[in-house]
């Protein structure tokens, strides 16, 4: 029993950290705009906290608090810069931003540059990870049901109508991006103090894409969908280790299947689904009456 726990512990920790980062991305995406720079913001949080604990001997919690602040600041910055951009261009700008951060980390020698930042002390034991994840889920849940969360959903569904009702698009964007960035920054700090190494390659677009995969495969309509996807898709390559070289093929296959057959994601809200299934056009009774009138 103990052996199997030791074997599964890293899988559980990585899964929980992914759940945390996905929570952050979910909050960011609630105002309708996705950030393609999750890994970069997590990296900023991670590097900030790791420099404080490693080079300045700070304790873990204050360092993580600064990482949270850094994540929120970066989120605010990205939201403010991109608020007037069209949807597709905004996504691309966040992509370019993420890549730029990765390249920057690559070239700053103080944080190790291409050789990675190493020597980070170990703080993220399983309880820290569970605690962090619980707080992230709680925050995301609270935000989901709050007035601000509803305002964000309104902006997502129809920005024009929302702003006509007095919802400020700029402020909802900034709040969602800042809160999402804060959660992602904390996740980055916890991740750095678990893996004990930070590599600039882990900040790039392709790593950010894995969180987008969790979000879209899970479905953006509720928090539980993305979290389910984060758990399943992180654990899948580990659980299917007996399949050896075929497991990544299986991973790709699962993603393709979900995208093709569950366009709204794994978990959807029942009312929206029944509404979309109702056939379009006038009910049959009225068309008969119309036909009768025309005769």
């Amino acid at each position: 029993m103990m052996d199997s726990y030791l074997h599964w512990q890293p899988v559980i920790v990585i899964t929980l950290i992914n759940v945390m980062l996905t929570c952050g991305l979910y909050v960011t995406a609630m105002s309708g705009q996705l950030s393609l720079a999750t890994a970069a913001i997590a990296g900023i949080g991670g590097y900030t906290a790791a420099v404080l604990t490693t080079n300045f001997g700070w304790p873990f919690l204050p360092a993580t608090a600064i990482a949270v602040l850094a994540g929120a600041l970066v989120g605010t910055f990205v939201a403010a810069v991109t608020v007037k951009m069209r949807e597709f261009i905004l996504k691309l700008t966040t992509l370019a931003f993420g890549e730029a951060v990765a390249v920057l980390a690559f070239n700053i020698d103080y944080i190790g540059g291409a050789n990675s930042f190493t020597g980070i002390p170990f703080y993220s034991n399983i309880w820290v990870v569970i605690g962090g994840t619980a707080i992230a889920i709680y925050l995301a849940r609270r935000f989901d049901g709050s007035r601000l969360g509803l305002a964000a959903r309104a902006v997502r569904d129809d920005p024009l109508a929302a702003s006509a009702m007095g919802v400020s698009i700029l402020w909802t964007r900034i709040v969602t991006f800042a809160l999402g960035g804060a959660i992602v920054g904390a996740g980055g700090s916890i991740q750095a103090h678990y893996l004990l190494i930070l590599n600039p390659h882990e900040l790039g677009f392709f790593i950010s894409l894995t969180y987008i995969i969790f979000l879209l495969v899970g479905g953006m309509q509720s928090l539980w969908g993305p979290l389910l996807a984060a758990v399943v898709l992180t654990a899948l390559p580990e659980i299917s280790r007996f399949l050896a070289d075929y497991r990544m093929i299986l991973y790709g296959f699962v993603i393709v299947l979900v995208v093709l057959f569950r366009p709204e994601g794994l978990l959807t809200r029942a009312p929206t689904r029944t509404a979309s299934r109702r056939p379009a056009g006038p009910p049959p009774g009225r068309t008969q009456a119309a036909r009768a009138r025309s005769l």
């Binding site: 597709f88 370019a96 540059g113 995969i213 993603i255 995208v259």
Partner: protein
């Protein structure tokens, strides 16, 4: 001056390959409104089918290139029918995730079949130095450049001068109106993906010969760069994409030569951020998405 000329030549060589991959991206995105992230891996698939042909079939350049094109085109055909067609009309990001799933399968499938490490590409053409006085150009470099330019001229002719090309541009402008005027959108989409894949396959063979090796994960390097080229140029003029790709190759080579190779990859994204900020539709304009 010699360094400048040498880097200019090197840049044009790599840029021409960016251009072929980027054009494939742009063609598929323009017609299907799908970001096909499996495209760079189709390029690698062509590289491997060419390699297999060179090992088992014949070391004739034409046979190898044709096999590369055929393997890639067949995969493109199946991909269009099974994955890309249902993805049309979907959110752009969803198409990206779906094709990324295909890309993961393709990369790891090829790594499973051909081994996870780079494989030697048999020398189909002898490597010789062409200009050794001041700048160095090898025969495989020149061949790679020549093949890319031929492919680009061919695709430009196809888009501008043929009936299918006109249908392609009509769908790019307004898919619904094109369909109303009798354009078979499904057929044109299929032909587009097959052409883009076949081109990528030939380019894959030529890059395999250039570096003398083929690797299942080669596509990653070209994928993001080609995507950036398409965004920077905008997809309205394919010639613009070609120009930007060549320019990006040259800029990267100059950055490598004069500053440092670790800053090479910055160039693409600095240019992307700048262009997105000042001209969100790309330098030469885009079709509405």
């Amino acid at each position: 001056m010699d360094l400048f000329l040498q880097q200019l030549v090197n840049g044009l060589m790599i840029g021409s390959t960016y251009a072929v991959v980027a054009i494939g991206f742009a063609l598929v995105f323009t017609v299907l409104r799908v970001i096909n992230f499996a495209h760079p891996d189709i390029f690698v698939l062509g590289m491997f089918t060419g390699l297999l042909a060179a090992v088992h079939l014949s070391d004739n350049l034409l046979v190898v290139a044709a096999c590369g094109a055929l393997g890639a085109a067949l995969f493109g055909l199946v991909l269009e029918r099974v994955v890309l067609r249902p993805l049309r009309e979907r959110d752009v990001l969803m198409t990206l995730i779906g094709t990324l799933g295909v890309a993961i399968m393709l990369q790891n499938g090829m790594a499973k079949l051909m081994g996870p490490d780079p494989v030697a590409f048999p020398p189909v053409v002898p490597v010789t130095l062409l200009l050794s006085e001041r700048i160095i150009v090898t025969s495989t470099q020149a061949l790679n450049f020549g093949i890319s330019i031929l492919l680009l001229i061919a695709v430009s002719f196809y888009v501008r001068k043929t009936r299918f090309g006109r249908a392609t541009r009509a769908i790019a402008e307004r898919p619904d109106v094109a369909a109303a005027f009798g354009v078979d959108v499904n057929l044109v989409s299929q032909v587009t993906v097959v052409i883009a894949s076949a081109m990528a396959g030939v380019a894959g063979v030529s890059v395999g010969m250039l570096y003398g090796s083929a690797w299942a994960f080669n596509g990653l390097l070209y994928g993001l760069k080609a995507f950036v080229c398409m965004l920077v140029a905008g997809n309205r003029y394919f010639e613009g994409v070609i120009l930007v790709a060549l320019a990006l190759g040259v800029i990267e080579a100059l950055v490598t030569g004069y500053i440092s190779s670790s800053y090479r990859d910055v160039a693409a994204f600095v240019i992307l951020i700048g262009v997105l900020y000042f001209r969100p539709n790309g330098l030469f304009g885009s079709y509405a998405v």
